[in-house]
Amino acid sequence: MMLRPCPREKEVKELVERGHWPVAAETAPELRAHVNDCRSCGELVLVTAAFQKARIEAAGTAKLGSPGVLWWRAQLRRRNEAVERIGRPILGAQIFALAVNLLLAVVFVVWRARHGFAWLSWLEQLPQNATLHLDSQWFDTLWPFALFGSGWNSLLTPMVLIPAAATLALLGGVVVYLASEKQ
């Protein structure tokens, strides 16, 4: 298939697109003769004239809505997209913090299971301690982590461990948030 364009195609196309055809053909019989003989230019005139006419007629029948409505629809969509974009990293951070906490809980349970479930005995002792007193014994009973040992020293380990884990989870969430922001 030959794709070589006719050298006069551009000239003919311009005349048709500007609406000068077929008036221009009357003043230039040589061009008219060329269009009659040249298959490419003949097709161009036929097709372009048909499309130009169709365009004018179709544009005349268009029933246009208000641009203001479209403007506000776009504003609303942009706002919704912005809210969604902001919410996405926050949700990610929350999921990450939850996952870290769950992981810590599992690690703790596994760790305690290896040492036996003796620490659960504080639950059995709970009814017996109906009259609780604000002494070290009360803390030892109520706080399951205190069964790592006894007394205030044993309380220090979980009291440091839990805030540390929470801080870690929080910072992890912030890191995830910043990473997704960069993306």
Partner: protein, 191 residues
């Protein structure tokens, strides 16, 4: 030590957006109204004639403008904006054609048929309509952009997301086919 230095780049996205906005200013509502007045009729004609469905053309036109307003333009100027708008509309049409048709005929409103009838009464539609209906959707788009909108091969390539080298060949074949169909139509009406 300030908290911004501890957690840097929290507002980096906003800064980046401001920079991109400085490159091409988004349209305000007045500028958009003017642009809409100048471009909507052409866009509707393109969508209506290439899809053959005026109701669909109306829906896609609205969606095209909403997406256009939500997008960030890379080039400034009305010509580039208009080209981008046609690109959005072309993609929406393509997506529509790809989707399976599930609407039963009972669910189509009567106004759709009434409007189709009005459009069919137009003289150019009588001639071009049957010929266009026999063309492939992509060829209809190519022909409209080239011969109704007067876009160059490069511009059509940009609007349709195709290579400009392939546009030349595709357009050549499409034009030859529709010229044959229009010729047959003209001969049929003359007899």
């Amino acid at each position: 030590m300030s908290w911004e230095s501890v957690i840097p780049n929290v507002f980096a996205r906003d800064a980046h957006l401001d920079a991109s906005r400085a490159a091409v200013r988004p349209m305000d509502d007045e500028a958009f109204a003017g642009f809409y007045e100048r471009s909507a009729r052409s866009l509707w004609a393109y969508l209506a004639r290439t899809s053959g469905d005026p109701a669909l053309a109306e829906d896609l036109m609205q969606e095209s403008y909403v997406r256009f307003l939500c997008a960030t333009l890379r080039e400034e100027g009305e010509v580039a904006a208009r080209r981008y708008l046609f690109r959005i509309a072309t993609n929406l049409l393509r997506d529509h054609w790809r989707r399976p048709r599930t609407t039963p005929i009972e669910d189509v409103p009567e106004s759709f048929f009434a409007r189709c009838g009005d459009a069919a009464q137009a003289e150019s539609q009588m001639m071009l309509g049957p010929a266009l209906a026999q063309m492939r959707p992509r060829d209809r788009q190519l022909l409209w952009l080239a011969h109704a909108e007067g876009y160059s091969h490069n511009e059509i390539a940009e609007v349709m997301g195709l290579g400009s080298a392939s546009i030349r060949l595709l357009l050549f074949r499409a034009r030859r086919k529709i010229a044959r169909l229009l010729g047959e139509e003209q001969r049929g009406r003359a007899l």
